[in-house]
């Protein structure tokens, strides 16, 4: 069973696809799991990697990211989103990533997810971009 993240101050990095960035600001949909995510939003743990390191690992696997924003475990929890460690190793489709974690939206319906995503986006913008491609 996955261990929940207990350090409320730990930052969790979220990769922002170029299509989700406009004038440097991310769209709220970047902070909500997609249909293929099974209600789990992928993030990377700051206790194990840096924003730049997370971006490098992410894009090295062939995926696109224009920026990295971050939210704390406490901020996720305040929005009703618990977070769990989810390191990947020898996964058939995912690159090895000891920093990988999941923010669990499964207790929320679609309407609630969209509201939560907006609040997460606002918090992430307040913190500011943590890494970006110029």
């Amino acid at each position: 069973m996955a261990m929940s993240l207990s350090n409320a101050e730990e930052l969790l990095f979220r990769q922002i696809h170029p299509s989700g960035l406009n004038a440097g600001c991310p769209c709220s949909s970047c902070f909500m799991p997609s249909k293929s995510d099974n209600g789990q939003l992928s993030v990377d743990r700051s206790s194990i990697t840096t924003a730049e390191g997370a971006h490098e690992r992410y894009t090295r696997a062939g995926r696109r990211s224009a920026a990295v924003f971050g939210l704390s475990v406490a901020e996720f929890l305040a929005c009703g989103i618990p977070c769990f460690e989810d390191p990947t190793h020898d996964h058939p489709t995912l690159p090895d990533n000891p920093a990988h974690a999941l923010a669990d939206f499964s207790a929320h319906g679609l309407s609630s997810r969209r509201m939560v995503a907006k609040e997460l986006k606002r918090l992430a913008i307040t913190r500011g971009r943590l890494f970006g491609v110029s």
């Binding site: 696809h17 299509s19 989700g20 406009n22 004038a23 600001c25 769209c27 709220s28 949909s29 997609s34 249909k35 293929s36 995926r63 696109r64 309407s111 969209r114 509201m115 907006k118 609040e119 986006k121 606002r122």
Partner: protein, 152 residues
């Protein structure tokens, strides 16, 4: 791309409801605001997105969603200066903006349906998503009320 307008270009009072063209098919006039070209550029960018634009299987943005978004911005020009337009993973358009103390989203669905939702920044107010089948007077009233009372 940002669409920020100088404050002096912002209407000082609520805008009357959008008047439809006198004849079906008649082109609506576009606002003579300097940033309208930026809106058209952004809508063109969204229209040009191919299938799988988000690397996660998203469909292209639907022509209906783009048309309704344009109609919405024509109906309420202050939104041009407030909002950012994003593609929705469902093939619609998301308009995200701050009005007053509210952080709001209008989502135009792939079929042209609309929803408005958001929350009060630093407060407890929440506006939960409510679907509107078309951009009618009821939707515009909800749009005007969200973060209101007056467009500035």
């Amino acid at each position: 791309m940002a669409y920020a307008l100088p404050d002096r270009l912002m209407p000082s009072k609520p805008i009357p409801p959008c008047v439809p063209p006198a004849h079906p098919g008649e082109a609506q006039e576009t606002p003579s605001l300097p940033s309208w070209a930026a809106v058209e550029d952004r809508l063109a960018e969204l229209a040009a997105l191919p299938a799988d634009w988000n690397d996660d299987g998203a469909p292209p943005i639907s022509a209906i969603a783009l048309r309704v978004t344009r109609q919405l911005l024509l109906a309420r020009p202050p939104l041009v200066g407030l909002g950012d337009l994003f593609p929705s993973p469902d093939g619609g358009v998301l308009m995200e903006y701050i009005r007053g103390t509210w952080d709001l989203t209008v989502e135009v669905g792939v079929d042209g349906t609309l929803e408005i939702f958001g929350f009060e920044i630093g407060g407890t107010g929440k506006l939960y998503p409510k679907p509107y089948p078309v951009m009618d007077a009821e939707f515009v009233r909800a749009l005007d009320a969200a973060g209101g009372p007056a467009w500035r």
